[in-house]
Subunit: 191 residues, 2 copies
């Protein structure tokens, strides 16, 4: 695989702009200005605005799907698996903060790959629910509606991209630990 540094820079810059104003409000001329070039020159590196969005979103969505599958198939108890899911979100969001904004806010603007994205998201949530249900079966987790548990956790984890950039002195593993404490102790059945 050859190195495509210029294309990568464009995509990274686009993600930053998409985070600030959303995909639809960012023009190719905005992106070109941020790159220090003219809009037409972008097309020496990318095929379309749509392609940029696709690359940003699909690659991260696949990272999540693969990550949760590994966690699900590991030999840990359910609460440990949930802690690992939290750590997965913290890690990906730390490495790809701007891209996470597009994943959350601009997925509906995918044109050719919307079905693919929705399939990945549904798989992810189905596996998440399975982990919770197994935790309820094994009496690790309070018998609350598993959808509400997932919704609560995912809402927080999906909003991390808004919050992580504000904490310049961020310690990644410490954040994951704190979030686990808050999110999991709440659903951990005290015996």
């Amino acid at each position: 695989m050859m190195q495509q540094t210029r294309k990568d820079e464009i995509i990274k810059t686009a993600a930053k702009l998409f985070k600030e104003k959303g995909y639809s409000a960012v023009t190719m001329r905005d992106l070109a200005t941020a790159m220090g070039m003219k809009a037409a020159s972008l097309y020496n590196h990318i095929n379309s605005k749509q392609e940029i969005l696709k690359i940003i979103i699909i690659s991260i969505a696949e990272e999540f799907t693969k990550g949760i599958d590994v966690i699900y198939n590991s030999y840990n108890n359910s609460l440990d698996k949930l802690s690992q899911v939290i750590a997965l979100h913290v890690k990906i969001t730390t490495n790809s903060t701007n891209e996470m904004a597009s994943l959350n806010n601009d997925w509906m603007h995918l044109e050719g790959q919307l079905d693919h994205y929705l399939r990945l998201r549904n798989n992810y949530e189905a596996t998440f629910i399975k982990i919770i249900n197994e935790g309820i079966s094994s009496s690790e987790i309070k018998p609350v509606n598993p959808e509400i548990i997932m919704f609560t956790m995912l809402s927080t984890l999906r909003s991390l991209f808004l919050w992580i950039p504000k904490k310049e002195d961020l310690n990644v593993s410490e954040l994951a630990t704190n979030l686990s404490e808050i999110l999991i102790q709440g659903i951990n059945k005290k015996l």
Copy 2:
């Protein structure tokens, strides 16, 4: 105050479209089609696209600010206040689901009223933090970083608009109770 039903319909319809695609991706012609009229006719009722966004966002933001002030100044303990904040979000989101999407996703597209909006949001969060800090002082709440607690709670509450429409059989007070259980028991210091 005279009844402006047509204008209200336009704003309500706009909020629905904004929720699906975001402010920038919705055109005045989209809105007109959804209203069963031509784009130019919209201007018999509203002054600009921007005005629609302003009305949607500012009115709800003020509702939140007023609501949390009443809660903060009431004579309850801190955990009860947090439960009331949760109920406030559930109530407003149930009544104004589509408008909540604009509040969350499109505030950055406010042109003249961005400062006003940010002031309202900062006030809201400052009061929220005060409630948490008082709860920590009175030993009701675990001495965790109050920002992380607020972030966790607000992430979930601000995402409710995504989730409430999927639960057609929704019982509002039951949802508020479940969320309080999950969100608060996690930070409630067990003695």
